[in-house]
Symmetry: C2
Subunit: 256 residues, 2 copies
């Protein structure tokens, strides 16, 4: 019981599962799940990796809106000397749980070692299924104004639109939050051609994956929801044989 | 020889190796390397995965500045009916080869299937070793003006600095190109506190990994080179127990 009480041997791995396909999860993530004494996570993500878990480990699953409780429980168990894995979809460091874990640990100045195991994030996997839209400078922006003032989100959209960043939009829309994607499109359209390619991806690399290629003009005709990632191309982005591609500049420099 | 001539069975997988640690490469990437008849890549990346390659496969390695030749060779071999893997460090879709492959394929309207296997990019792995600096909206900007006019790069820096994006800087400096990072810092400093945390990472997850935490004021005292990624925090980013963390906004919304 000594180790459990002083927490010396406890540790917390914040584990990125990647986009969902099991063969896109890093072996380091799998090893962390297999060796954890306690696995904590949102139910849907745990279901994806049920086969990787050690039958002897304690599994704490929770519903989606309980991120704070989930992270706190993971830190507490680690502080009691357990080897804990907290699972996140995608990459823990991109719009996921890694930051919240450190924020909570700071409030108690927790000494337990915290390790972030990176994963293939939605922006990586969505880009891959679309082709290669992120080959030049890009900005990632969440349209969720739950924790960020909408004014700041809008100013960020206004900032990146005129200087030709590719834009990756996270959390474009939910049942209650439907205006933001309309406004985001307006801002982009004020600076870019209506023909600018737009890629819309849900469930990348999973069984229910949908990949749609459209344009700034027509993007709102598509079904967009909570789990959707929207990638707006820059002025050079093209579509060829169903792939969305942003050139890096080789053609201008060297000719192809 | 029919399949080789008509190219029906050829395919090209553009494979992301991840940051370098073998246990951060996705199983799908490993499988593509193991089953490829031809593996094409930059020598340094091939050395990282030598153990994964099928001894029977043809390996075409090249030096760094030959990207166009490398991609063209991979497409040609695939067009001749071979199963080809083109290896990239990190994620093929982020400042790597996926875009160039599609650009070249378009010039001949090549019909060969091209599949991008995403990987953990430098931005994901550098963020993980630093802590959680990318937890809020961020922009990725390459300072290389080889194929992008410096004026546009500078305008992008000017656009993102005042609206509090975390900024991930790729290609900050090379032997011949030393001024850009100086100018980038000046632009950030015009809008952010000199105490803003800055993370500087080289060789993330490899044996020679170096991780340094500094500030906008002092960042130029650090060694920065071709293989370095620089992450500049936003106004909320903090450092706690050697970790660089950007809060998402839970504290303001819910209290922690």
């Amino acid at each position: 019981m000594t180790t459990a009480q002083d927490g010396i041997n406890g540790s917390l791995a914040v584990v990125g599962l990647g986009p969902g396909a099991v063969d896109l999860m890093a072996p380091r993530a799998r090893a962390a799940l297999e060796t954890a004494e306690v696995v904590v996570g949102y139910r849907t993500y745990l279901d994806l990796v049920r086969d990787c878990l050690n039958p002897a480990s304690v599994v704490l699953s929770s519903s989606m809106m309980q991120e704070i409780d989930r992270c706190r429980a993971a830190l507490e168990m680690a502080g009691q000397g357990r080897r804990v894995a907290l699972v996140c979809g995608g990459d823990p460091g991109i719009y996921a749980m890694a930051g919240l874990v450190f924020e909570l640990a700071r409030t108690t100045d927790a000494a337990v070692p915290i390790d972030v195991i990176p994963g293939i994030a939605a922006l990586n996997s969505c880009a891959a299924v679309l082709g290669a839209p992120l080959m030049h400078d890009f900005a990632a922006i969440s349209l969720s104004d739950l924790m960020t003032p909408w004014d700041l989100i809008e100013r960020r959209l206004e900032a990146v639109a005129p200087v030709d960043f590719v834009v990756v939009i996270y959390n474009p829309k939910s049942k209650k939050r439907t205006d933001q994607i309309v406004r985001a499109r307006e801002i982009m359209l004020a600076h870019r051609s209506p023909d600018t390619p737009v890629g819309i991806v849900s469930g990348a690399t999973r069984a229910h994956e949908t990949v749609r290629l459209t344009t700034l003009a027509r993007m709102l005709d598509e079904d967009i929801g909570m789990q959707t990632t929207v990638i707006v191309g820059n002025s050079q982005t093209f579509v060829w044989r169903g792939k969305m591609v942003t050139p890096r500049g080789y053609d201008r420099k060297y000719g192809l």
